[in-house]
């Protein structure tokens, strides 16, 4: 886990970020104008406030980064801006198709959520000077994550939407607490694993070349597995269960560097899926739809998968053009299926472009994990990065019929406040960690131990 310190003078690269931000905003505005030109033949009047809003929101984060985290990764914010903006464009486009205008539009709602997400991001970067502070909240995070996960099961608070009970409703607001549980659990896993990784990676019997852990060390993974199974059973949410479980196994593997954990994890998850398949009609139906989405019977039951595929096929290589396709024919075109909506209008070229943006985002996250010097930061960075990548795989893999469809949001693109807030928080945590990773190691002043304040600031890992 040691990293060589680069001998060159580190550069903040904030200028690069500014240029990339300008490009991202320009792409989004161009897309917005294209939608209106294709739909109504006019340049929309709202383009000025939209452009102003984007510049202000992205600009505020940029300025705060210059001030509070000057060494943060310069690519994460532009990618987030571009993805969030493209999501807004598609939501606005679907608003136009559905006749939801102005303040009633989903786009309007999403802009408000974006502003809130930016405010949270600014607050996080501002107040959280060092990501290692989070380690203090390891077990609080576990409690918070567990509470968030089980909130939808509380009678009167939770709501069942489309067969899955993963929502809570307070007054007019509805929320998917699972999105935040993801972050809390990543913090908990990182904190817990960094403490116990030695025990987990060293103790155990060797069988067939694998070192298997001792029974009592299996405890945490069993707890996580049971937790995932409980969510799966009571909330009927296979996607989230898969996501939390995959996240934990991945972090466990990174912490221990032992493949046996992955083998055990896959085995346990396989058992859970087999159980779910035999016990719940809900899952059997999903698998049936996945295997043959075009049969007459399946088309009658749920035409979502087939319509999404037809939409992507209609787009072909170059797409129908923004505003010129028919993404609204697919149910949940602006949430679960926003990738298919974009793929229809932007074509395979656009779809690959969007996947490349995510790949780049993930690559920056991995680079942050590799670069940061403390174990907790490494685990947290790779955990958050993996959660974004894996969530993307689950939802887009479902849309493209790679795996059975499970409802999850597409990070940054999908309509929905909880998802947007949670993913912006993930991005701000990655920014904070990358600032630590890329910051030059302060030269140790002579007599450092004498000054408690300096000691606090230069502390690398507190085990």
């Amino acid at each position: 886990m040691t990293t060589t310190v680069e001998p060159v003078t580190p550069r903040t690269r904030r200028g690069v970020e500014l240029v990339l931000l300008i490009v991202a905003i320009a792409v989004v505005l161009l897309a917005w104008v294209t939608v209106d030109l294709n739909r109504n033949g006019t340049v929309p009047a709202e383009i000025i406030p939209v452009a102003g809003g984007l510049v202000v929101l992205a600009g505020v984060v940029h300025v705060v980064l210059r001030w509070k985290a000057p060494y943060a990764d310069p690519v994460l914010l532009p990618i987030t801006t571009a993805l969030n903006g493209l999501g807004l464009v598609m939501i606005h486009r679907l608003d136009l198709a559905a006749g939801r205008l102005g303040a009633d539009g989903n786009a309007n709602q999403q802009i408000i959520w974006t502003a809130l997400a930016v405010a949270l991001t600014v607050a996080a970067i501002w107040t959280l000077r060092d990501h290692r502070l989070l380690r203090r909240y390891t077990f609080i995070s576990l409690a918070v994550g567990f509470i968030l996960l089980t909130l939808p099961l509380v009678p009167g608070l939770g709501r069942e939407v489309n067969g899955s009970r993963i929502w809570i409703a307070v007054g007019p607001f509805s929320f998917q607490p699972g999105e935040f549980a993801k972050i809390a659990l990543a913090v908990f896993f990182a904190g817990y694993l960094v403490q116990t990784r030695d025990v987990l990676s060293l103790a155990g019997k060797r069988v067939l070349g694998f070192t298997f852990p001792r029974g009592r060390d299996l405890g945490p993974i069993l707890v996580a597995w049971v937790l995932a199974l409980l969510i799966l059973v009571f909330e009927k949410d296979l996607g989230s269960a898969l996501l939390f479980f995959g996240l934990f196994v991945a972090m466990l593997y990174v912490a221990t560097e032992r493949v046996s954990w992955i083998a055990i994890g896959l085995l346990l998850f396989g058992a859970a899926v087999a159980f779910a398949l035999s016990a719940f009609a809900h899952f059997q139906k999903r698998v049936d739809l996945w295997l043959d989405p075009f049969s007459t019977e399946n088309l009658e039951r749920s035409n979502q998968l087939a319509n999404g595929l037809w939409g992507m096929a209609a787009g072909g290589l170059t797409g129908t053009g923004l505003g010129a396709g028919r993404p609204w024919l697919t149910p949940f075109a602006e949430s679960d299926y926003i990738f298919a909506s974009l793929a229809e209008e932007l074509g395979l070229i656009g779809a690959v472009g969007i996947l490349m943006l995510y790949l780049l985002f993930v690559e920056r996250g991995v680079r942050t994990a590799l670069g940061v010097r403390d174990g907790f930061g490494k685990l947290l960075a790779i955990g958050l990065t993996f959660s974004v990548a894996f969530q993307l795989f689950i939802v887009i893999g479902g849309v493209t019929r790679l795996i059975p469809l499970t409802g999850l949001t597409t990070p940054f693109l999908s309509l929905g406040g909880s998802s947007l807030l949670a993913n912006w928080i993930i991005m701000s945590l990655l920014l904070r960690i990358s600032d630590q990773a890329r910051r030059p190691v302060p030269a140790l002043p002579i007599g450092v131990g004498a000054d408690p304040a300096t000691a606090e600031a230069t502390q690398v890992v507190r085990l």
């Binding site: 912490a255 992507m312 096929a313 395979l348 991995v366 894996f390 893999g397």
Partner: protein, 487 residues
């Protein structure tokens, strides 16, 4: 931990690789086959998103696409919907375009036909939105209206042809229906219209003139028997004597073939061929059938078009003769019973062939194919001879005989003052429980025929005589002929 992070990033890269492959498979490899799936609404909507060609009759659209401000963009409307319903069919979001020209000429109307290729390329280059081709029909609106009015509330069909070219001047099938609600963008309205009409027991979607259940031709088939007898030299001309007993003994069976009147057709049980046709003498044509045999009858019918697959461009059900006929069956077939089955269009072709010196012309409905701006792409078509069904001499004899049927025989109700009209009545039994169908086939003016007509009125005859054909069908044919020759 860095080793594990690097390995994990390889896994992440593999996941992304899988997503890229899956996207490529859908949007590139399988895109074509997915677009072609019948249940794919996007493909259907693509068709709605471009202007479909009009169908014109005498320059006026009977089917046209009107731009509307909804997601389907082009609304298909039928200005004189009921009158032309069986010709146009309809174009519906939920069930597509299963009938009529909307189906049969879909490649032209949608602009996908090969012969429109050059047009499509120029449209692409000039940036013009490609519209389907416009189709001009051979239908004469006056004749169509007259045929529909004359048929009135009866179930049945009328076909009028130009004997010289085969152009279809009128094609009416009752009951009619209104195609407009079926093509409505109000999908509930369209669905209920479809449900109501498709389950209607009177089968309004069936174009009785060319398809649906075929009809027995009854006595109108006697002109085919007469044609065969003349061509084979069994009789010499209309004054040749033929047997005409009250009932004809049939070999191999105890059931004799009786006349409807139970009377002999002439003194000494003999009569002339002319008189036999005038009074529709069953025993005379039955005995000619015995002499000719099944093969000869079938061969003559085939020359008039029986068994041919014709597309006008709608598919016309081929009329059929029984495959095997023994002697009594040949006698039955000779008077249009047993298993002889035909369409009104086929019977009109027989009348037209006789009126046109024995030459049967291939019927057609499309006069010309035009661009949306009415530049002619194709047409008018060269009239095509289907066959020389009988010699000119035989045709002349048959023509004189049919004129005499109208002048002196069972077809008097088709007389038009000052015009020589040829015709033949028919009453076709099809179900012992129900009244027989009434037939009339005719042409006018006899010396230079400009129109040939076949009329069938379902279940309007009276069992045992020619009253149906004479009383019900002949006046309808008369009205249609008058509409053509303008008197």
């Amino acid at each position: 931990m860095n080793t594990a992070i690097r390995r994990l990033s390889v896994l992440i890269a593999a996941l992304f690789g899988a997503l890229l492959v899956a996207s490529t498979v859908i949007q590139f490899v399988q895109a074509g086959s997915m677009r072609g799936m019948a249940a794919n609404k996007r493909t259907l909507l693509d068709n709605y998103a471009q202007e479909r060609g009009s169908i014109l009759v005498a320059g006026q659209p009977i089917a046209k696409s009107v731009e509307v401000d909804d997601q389907y963009r082009w609304l298909r409307t039928y200005p004189d919907g009921r009158l032309y319903s069986q010709i146009t069919g309809f174009y519906a979001y939920s069930v597509g375009n299963p009938f009529g020209l909307e189906d049969a000429a879909d490649d032209l109307l949608s602009g996908k036909a090969d012969r429109l290729f050059v047009r499509r390329v120029t449209d692409l280059l000039t940036g013009r939105e490609t519209a389907g081709a416009t189709i001009e029909l051979t239908i004469d609106p006056k004749v169509q209206q007259a045929a529909s009015d004359a048929l009135g509330k009866n179930r049945g069909a009328v076909v009028a042809l130009d004997p010289r070219t085969g152009a279809i001047l009128a094609m009416v099938s009752h009951p009619q229906y209104d195609p407009n609600p079926l093509s409505s963008h109000d999908l509930d309205k369209a669905a209920s219209a479809w449900k109501k009409l498709s389950t209607d027991r009177s089968k309004p979607f069936t174009n009785r003139a060319i398809s649906g259940d075929l009809y027995p031709p009854g006595s109108t088939f006697k002109v085919v028997t007469a044609a065969a007898a003349l061509e084979q030299g069994i009789v010499d001309d209309e004054s040749s004597m033929v047997p005409g007993p009250a009932a004809l003994d049939l070999p191999l069976t105890d059931q004799p073939l009786p006349n409807e009147t139970r009377q002999p057709c002439g003194p000494d049980d003999r009569t002339t061929l002319l008189h036999a046709l005038e009074i529709s003498c069953n025993t005379a044509f039955g005995s000619l059938g015995l002499e000719l045999g099944g093969e000869q009858l079938r061969a003559q019918a085939a020359k008039f078009g029986f068994g041919d697959s014709i597309q006008i461009p709608m598919r016309v059900s081929p009329s059929t003769m029984p495959a095997e006929m023994n002697q009594p069956q040949a006698a039955q077939s000779a008077i249009g019973q047993y298993e002889v089955r035909t369409t009104p269009l086929q019977m009109a072709m027989i009348a037209a062939g006789i009126a046109n010196q024995g030459r049967v012309m291939t019927p057609y409905l499309i006069q010309s194919v035009r661009t949306a701006d009415l530049d002619v792409i194709d047409g008018p078509p060269d009239p095509k001879e289907l066959s020389q069904a009988v010699s000119t001499r035989t045709a002349d004899i048959l023509k004189r005989m049919m004129v005499s049927v109208v002048d002196n025989g069972s077809g008097r109700r088709a007389q038009i003052p000052g015009v020589a009209v040829g015709g033949k009545t028919g009453t076709a039994q099809h179900d012992l429980e129900k009244s027989p169908h009434a037939w009339f086939i005719s042409f006018a003016p006899a010396d230079d025929a400009r129109v040939a007509v076949a009329v069938i009125v379902e279940e309007s005859g009276v069992s045992g005589n020619e009253v149906g054909g004479a009383a019900v069908a002949a006046p309808i044919a008369k009205a249609v002929m008058e509409a053509v020759i303008g008197r």
